[in-house]
């Protein structure tokens, strides 16, 4: 851990940027057709419940990150193994998001540039940010939060004024009942993006007012959740269900439909700007958590030394985790939630909380 302290507003901003990150880009819950927005809201509710677990754990051990208190809770040996697995989990996720980001750019505008080059440039920026420390990342977050909201508001108004939104596309609501929606919520939206809040178990100790943690984090989750819901509703309303399902990047399709007075059109660059910012923060936070976790587990005094080598690992992992985009998405929807998200986001934290509860009660009884 480095010596850094961030304000609660900075944490709030980081959470919003992180949660919206790639969720807005790839579009979530598309399998639920016109009810995708319901799965987002349900996912948000579930995500808040999950976060309460993480917050409780944090309040038991407010000064150390997950990789440290996991050792205090389960003992040194098991704790270290679990901590190490968490580090790998965070690294894998940052590589995943990096791949998402690179795939999008190569399919849309940089159609003949190799993925390696685009990802390498992004990794360089991220390694630099992490090298500079968490306070810097938080400050950059504040800056870009304003930018993202300006773009989002402008984009929202342009979509409205172009007359793209046809609310009847959202009907009939609940055509196939609740079952498929619950399935998609538990398998997809709960874990991505809301369950990914577990990366903040590594970052919460930096908050200068630990008491505010619940208010700030849940506030940030709700704001980003509502933003994603609005974006999903607009996507469905302006694309219609079939096109919404066929688009790998629904928001891009929506934005490229904007046409106002025959000269404000082809605004894909808005989306690209957002993508850079959102992708940057999501990858950076995952990467930072992985770096801090490693230095914490192996007792390194200065985490900065491992930034660059770990950046290289992520870069090559992002290229090798899948051989094509279809494989990448299939893994993300089928394998990752069951074998990675559920254990790391839900099962392990719940187990930790139960053990921590009994340990701390024992302590209190002794005192």
């Amino acid at each position: 851990m480095e010596k850094a302290k961030i304000k609660s507003t900075q944490l709030f901003v980081l959470i919003v940027l992180f949660e919206m990150g790639s969720a807005l880009v790839v579009g979530i819950g598309t399998d639920a057709k016109q009810d995708a927005w319901i799965t987002v809201l349900l996912g948000l509710a579930g995500g808040i419940c999950l976060f309460l677990i993480y917050a409780k754990l944090f309040l038991y051990y407010p000064d150390v990150p997950l990789t440290s208190y996991i050792q205090k809770i389960t003992g040194k040996f098991i704790g270290r193994i679990l901590g190490f697995l968490y580090v790998i989990y965070f690294m894998y996720l940052s590589a995943r998001v990096l791949r998402d980001f690179g795939e999008l750019l190569t399919t849309t505008i940089y159609s003949s540039t190799p993925l390696l080059i685009i990802n390498a440039l992004m990794v360089l920026t991220i390694v630099y940010a992490v090298y500079k420390g968490f306070e810097v990342i938080a400050r950059v977050g504040e800056l870009y939060f304003a930018l993202v909201y300006c773009i989002a508001l402008l984009g929202f108004m342009l979509i409205m004024f172009s007359g793209l939104v046809h609310m009847e596309n959202l009907r009939p609501i609940l055509e196939n009942g609740w079952m498929p929606i619950l399935k998609i919520t538990l398998g997809q939206t709960l874990n991505f993006p809301f369950g990914e809040m577990n990366v903040f178990t590594m970052l919460l100790p930096y908050l200068n007012e630990p008491k505010k943690v619940k208010r700030v984090c849940i506030g940030g989750m709700i704001l980003s959740g509502l933003n994603i819901t609005i974006a999903t509703v607009i996507n469905i309303a302006s694309l219609g269900v079939p096109l919404f399902e066929r688009s790998p990047f629904p928001l891009l399709s929506t934005v490229s439909k904007i046409s106002l007075a025959n000269f404000i059109e082809r605004l894909d660059v808005f989306f690209m700007l957002y993508l850079m910012v959102g992708g940057f923060f999501k990858i950076t936070l995952f990467f930072y958590a992985a770096v801090i976790g490693t230095s914490d587990l192996f007792g390194l005094k200065d985490y900065k030394k491992i930034c660059f080598p770990m950046g290289l690992i992520i870069l090559f992992a992002s290229l090798s985790i899948a051989s094509n985009y279809a494989e990448h998405i299939k893994e993300g929807i089928i394998i990752v939630p069951i074998f990675l998200h559920w254990p790391f986001q839900i099962i392990v934290p719940v187990g930790l909380l139960i053990i921590a509860f009994f340990r701390n009660r024992k302590k209190q009884l002794i005192n």
């Binding site: 399919t107 540039t113 009939p172 055509e175 694309l239 096109l243 082809r266």
Partner: protein, 401 residues
Amino acid sequence: MKMFLALFLLLFSILPVLSGCWNQKELTDLAFVMALGVDKGKNHRFDVAFQIVNPGNVSAGQGQGGGGLPIAVYKSSGDTLTEAARNAALKVSRRLYYAHCNLLVIGEKLAKEGILDIFDALERDPGFRTTTEIVIARDSTAEELVTTLTILDKLPVSKVTKELQTSEDMLGETLKVNIDDFITSLVSKGKQPLITGYSVIGDKKIADNSQNLQITTTKAFLSANGIGLFRKGKLIGWINGYKARGAVWVLNKVSGTDVNIDWNGKKNAINVTPLRSRTKVSAKIKNGKPMINVVIKEESIISEINTNADISNPNEIAKIEKKVGKVIKSQVIEVIKEAQNKKCDIFGFGEKVHLANPKLWKRIQNNWDEQFSETKVFVTVKPYQRRSGVRRNPFWNELKQ
């Protein structure tokens, strides 16, 4: 010195990354495709005509640029659209660039055989915009359409796209349909796509000749001509004139048009022009069978009276309203009947049934074409006569005294 060297090395190593010239395309190396004409091919499946803008001859520089033709058309063929586009490289010196393509023209022959094979290429390509509008070259080939030169608008493409817009606003007998719209209604089980037809009228032989630009009444010109009905991606028929307008009316796309009514025993004596119109289509289920309600509300002004009439009397206005309503209703009913005869639900009634009763829809959706032809459709028109221009009663009233 060491510091300086390190800095120099760093800057130098960043240089190739920052230049952003991975696959740069200079403007002078690009050929901007403005319109794409796809025909049934002779040797291959498709004959494709690329209408390319000739930038030097379009710019509005005074005196200059008037010399040559504003467009150049290249032809190529292939069994798929992409193959045809790549084959074009044999003939075009520049790289074809599609981001500014505004119009897709499909030949009638190809349309009759089915056009499903061309749409995925257009939708999938990241450079091609799905907001590109589609028209069918009626009674002619797509190639003839994209080679025709036009006056007033230097670029034939902007003539067609502007005209689609204007005639939707002023006349209501054409529809702007872009690639997204087409595919959306294509995959929908409760709606069939429509595409406006365009024809080259006049002497087709000189349509692509600069002579055509030297006369005020051009010998060959482009004109919108009816709306084509599609089923399963195949053109199955045309609706023309006021029937086309009826269809546009049901689709809630009419903003301006005109209606003639008889008055005082004189035919087409009064003309009114609707200003605003709003159509609501809803479905009801009765005895397990869907029924469709079409309600058209329109506001209009009187634009012409060629007989004596007392329009200062609100009762007379009410009578005019009633007659206008009847005329519109008959036009709409006629097109609905025609669509029902052809078993082609161009109005999206099926989608309304889907909204009204998803369960029933699941049962009947695969048989909707049949069901549609037997579905009862009720049309209600609510016309409102608002104003009558800058005169009260017409001069005819004084003539007859």
